[in-house]
Amino acid sequence: MPPSDLSDDARLVMSADKAAVSRALNLVEDRRSDAHARVTGLLAALKDAPKAAAGHRVGLTGPPGVGKSTLTSTLARSVRRRDRTVGVVAVDPSSIRSGGSLLGDRARMSFDPSDAGLFVRSLATAGEVGGLAYAANSAVRVLAAAYDIVVIETTGVGQSEIDIVHVADTVVLVIQPGSGDVLQFLKAGIMEIPDILVVNKADHDELAQRAVADLRGALRTAHAAGAGGGRDADWETPIIATSATKGTGIDALIDALDAHRQHLDATLPARRRQGEVQWTLDLFSRKHGEHGLATLGGVARLKARAERDLAGGDTPLGLCEHLSREYVSALGKTP
């Protein structure tokens, strides 16, 4: 595709022009070195989009098979009915052998194709160890500039839901009745307590009620054992029973999301900044490893540096570029 004027593109993204949003997402996925500067420029141009500051980034994660895609679909439709626009990033794993992937989330979603206020992009993890796709962080920022609510959906319990904390304002963990291992993880503090817990496939009242009760117990145990209330001690994690196929519990979930967004309002810039700091460090260490971190003074120092520079208007991608250059020139100086 022919290169186009970045600021024009940014303007079109902010107006939720689907072709422009799609082009921007193609660009942030582009791994060629000459694309980096353009990505950095684009994200910088989108950083202060009105939607981005006011919007809500929701991370939806959980074990395979709990119905996350269907839930995302139902959630998105309900949000649209409340006259807010939605962008979705659905992340699926890539095959280690072939490098390819089957991005099947759309098969579980039914949307009105003529709806201009809804956009879904599937991303493959492409061998990223973090569980989130290479471009997921950037993709969320593109969509956040265009849509009121951005949902990022990933599979897995463990690494990916730690990653998702850095990109989402609100982390929703989805399980189904009988997900015993998740209960154990929560109790043992292996897993961070999410901002919202959803028991999906709650089609049978009795089973669902028992699952909700079990989760309450697990959260109590976790708190007693000293685990914090997610990232926020003042927030009590609500537990919501949903049935994505029947559409029940979805309004309660949206209300809980709104309540959490409101709860965050004052602290949100700081929370997002923390995520960006972490993303910067992830990007850098992915490129240059432990040696890179050590050469530039260690994690704590880099964190402080990132906080300062990002506050000064830099973006994670831009800062990572600077750090890379500093590292390379430092390498040149050491014998």
């Binding site: 022919p2 997402l25 890539s94 052998r97 991005l103 759309r106 949307f111 599937s122 196929t245």
Partner: protein, 668 residues
């Protein structure tokens, strides 16, 4: 019985031809000729809008009306379909599932109009939704209301239409979806168990009469080319069904425990290359379900030799009917007792299948039964894996298919000299005519009666009353198929079944030449990724109402395994949806799969919408049952490639697809 095992000649099975197309009137004429040719039962093929609950004027029905069967939109169509055919003398099989309650209601209503008491009606409604989720794809509603419709139909007919077969548990489509004989046996049995358990749970059938329900269960089975194994499979079915009905349901009357089944022999194995060979395949497959007296089919319908090319003509179907008649009336088959009792080979093979199938039955029951194993994708994934293994065996020559991967040289066939005349083409005006007729119907009926009938349907859908009574009343009131289904969609919602592809693990191609091919394809895609900056992304779309998803699934899995990022959306997506997905996903290539014959309507529409969305430069390829003349036309209109069943080498298709992305990238 005489010394040599000879006995009085058995009565032959019911002989049918699966047919129906264009309009009710045209299909009625076809049925009359078929009966005159000695066919002993009718087998109605409905078009996809009728099967999936849409009227001809619905946008989703575009290009599909009258294509793979007859459109039946209301009682007027049903009346025309059976005009001059007294229903008390017919034995009618209807391949209908999600809308089975509705089509049976129309049938009963027409019988009432003819002055025929419904209690004498004979025939079958397929009414098996499980295999629709797994393979055939004409489901509408989620599993719970779908099972409720099934049980409503069963409990109604057991009381009111006692000679009717209310359900045909289908293993047929499972084999088409790739099932091994073991899987075919096991998944058909767990489906039957799921249905009988659901009937029991309604509480409508007294314990003492449950045997009657069990006795009305019938099956619809496939027979493939490995006909000795298939013969054993039928014998295994008999034994396993006897076990299930005795042990699980305590049925004591042996007659009610009998495994009653109809057959359509395998269409999937029919080849586009040297299509005349298919006649021999069809006959061999028929032997598997007729040779055993102890496990003989009750009803048989044979496909036509040219089904891989397009829709068969009356003459093609007649040829298949003659094959049945020669076996039943000319040969001495029906003069003997069971030929295989005591055969070590047959008995050992049967036992092996009984054991392996029983183990898989237990596995599914352990996972919560058929419905649960559909919802969590377990069965679908097993089928997708088996099918991938089957296709790979054909591709690398382990499984011989004469004329396809072996003995491919041959003299040109005079039968296909003029290929365009060797198949049936449906008049393109059918669509518009049916729409117009529907418009008149809606104007001329009593609107108040229709509104009242629909309100009653809606009320009943929210209760646990039987849907049949309200549906028969709606049939008399002039309600249409689309109205019936839409009313229920509003109450119950729609269902998108698991595709089974995301989790399917496919054995690596092993070693040797085929592994090298895969490695080469993977290397090319990695190289392309480096040059393009991101991995090649393919959208696999299945537009239209056709739910036969095997082809699309196998392409999706193969493409992932050579290294594409593949977006697969499942079945029944509209051209609008495909274009929206292509735009949002930023794909490099789009592949469409269409088997219903509606390619000339759907493919150009997708292409046109792509251009309108600014995606005109994204290459578009199509696969399906597409006659040569149509393929030529599609290529002229800019379709990058057209694939048909003769393109069985998936590796070659993958290589083409990579070429297309590469060329497009170079052009940018």
């Amino acid at each position: 019985m005489a010394e040599d095992g000879k006995q009085e000649r058995d009565r032959p099975w019911i002989m049918r031809t699966y047919s129906g197309h264009s309009t009710a009137a045209a299909s009625n004429a076809l049925y009359r000729t078929n009966l005159a040719k000695g066919q002993t039962g009718l087998s109605v093929a409905f078009d996809l809008p009728t099967q999936t609950g849409y009227d001809a004027d619905d946008p989703l029905a575009r290009g599909e009306v009258g294509k793979v069967g007859v459109p039946v939109s209301h009682i007027g169509d049903m009346r025309a379909l059976f005009d001059g055919l007294p229903l008390d003398q017919m034995n009618t099989s209807m391949t209908i599932n999600a809308t089975a309650v509705w089509l049976l209601s129309l049938y009963v209503a027409v019988a009432e109009e003819q002055g025929v008491d419904p209690s004498v009606l004979r025939g079958t409604t397929q009414n098996d939704i499980i295999k629709e989720y797994l393979s055939r794809g004409t489901h509408i509603f989620p599993p719970a209301p779908s099972m409720r419709l099934i049980t409503d139909l069963i409990t109604y007919t057991v009381d009111e239409v006692p000679k009717w077969n209310p359900i045909n548990i289908c293993s047929y489509h499972l084999q088409e979806a790739g099932a091994t004989p073991t899987q075919e046996l096991a998944y058909a049995l767990v489906t039957a168990i799921g249905v009988l358990d659901a009937v029991k749970a309604t509480g409508r059938v007294p314990e003492s009469e449950f045997g009657t329900v069990v006795g009305r269960m019938s099956f619809f089975v496939n027979a493939g080319i490995r006909f000795v194994e298939e013969l054993c499979k039928m014998r295994a079915f008999v034994e396993l069904w006897d076990r299930v009905t005795r042990e699980r349901y305590g049925v004591t009357d042996p007659k009610q425990r009998r495994f009653r089944y109809g057959v359509q022999v395998n269409s999937l194995g029919l080849t586009e290359q040297q299509p005349e060979n298919n006649v021999i395949r069809i006959v061999l497959e028929m032997l598997a379900v007729t040779l055993s007296k102890d496990a003989r089919a009750r009803a048989i319908q044979l496909p036509a030799w040219n089904e891989a090319l397009g829709l068969p003509r009356p003459w093609d179907q007649q040829w298949s009917l003659r094959a049945q008649q020669i076996l039943a009336y000319e040969s001495d088959l029906l003069e003997y007792a069971d030929l295989f009792k005591g055969s070590e080979v047959v008995e050992a093979n049967t036992q092996r299948l009984v054991d392996s199938a029983w183990a898989e039955v237990q596995e599914v029951l352990k996972r919560g039964g058929a419905v649960e194993a559909v919802e969590n994708g377990y069965i679908k994934q097993r089928l997708v894996e088996s099918n991938a293994a089957r296709l790979r065996a054909i591709e690398n020559g382990d499984q011989v298919v004469v004329g396809v991967n072996k003995y491919v040289e041959g003299a040109p066939s005079p039968l296909t000299e003029n290929l365009d005349d060797a198949i049936l083409t449906v008049d393109p005006e059918v669509d518009a005519n049916q729409r117009e007729a529907l418009g008149h119907w809606k104007l001329e009926r009593d609107g108040a009666a229709v509104a009242k009938a629909l309100a009653e349907l809606q009320r009943v859908a929210n209760t646990d009353e039987n849907m049949m009574i309200a549906s028969i009343a709606a049939a008399h009131a002039g309600v249409t198929t689309g109205e019936w289904a839409n009313t229920l969609r509003q109450v119950w919602g729609e269902y998108r079944a698991p595709t089974g592809v995301a989790g399917a693990t496919v054995k690596a191609s092993g070693s040797g030449a085929s592994a090298e091919v895969i490695d080469r394809l993977r290397a090319r895609l990695s190289d392309l990724e480096t040059r393009m900056g991101r991995r090649a992304k393919l959208l696999v779309g299945k537009p239209g109402l056709d739910g036969h998803s095997n082809g699309a699934e196998q392409i999706a899995i193969k493409a992932r395994d050579v290294g594409f990022d593949v977006v697969y959306e499942g079945i029944r997506v509209s051209p609008e949806q495909i274009v929206a997905s292509a735009l949002e996903e930023g794909v490099h290539l789009i592949g469409l799969s269409i088997l219903s014959g509606s390619h000339l309507a759907l493919v150009p529409e997708v292409a046109e919408r792509l251009r309108a969305a600014g995606l005109g430069d994204v290459p578009l390829v199509v696969g399906g049952i597409i006659p040569d003349a149509d393929a030529e036309r599609l290529r002229r209109e800019g379709i990058a490639a057209v694939y048909t069943p003769k393109d069985f080498e998936l590796d070659n298709i993958m290589s083409d697809l990579i070429d297309l992305v590469d060329r497009q990238h170079a052009a940018e």
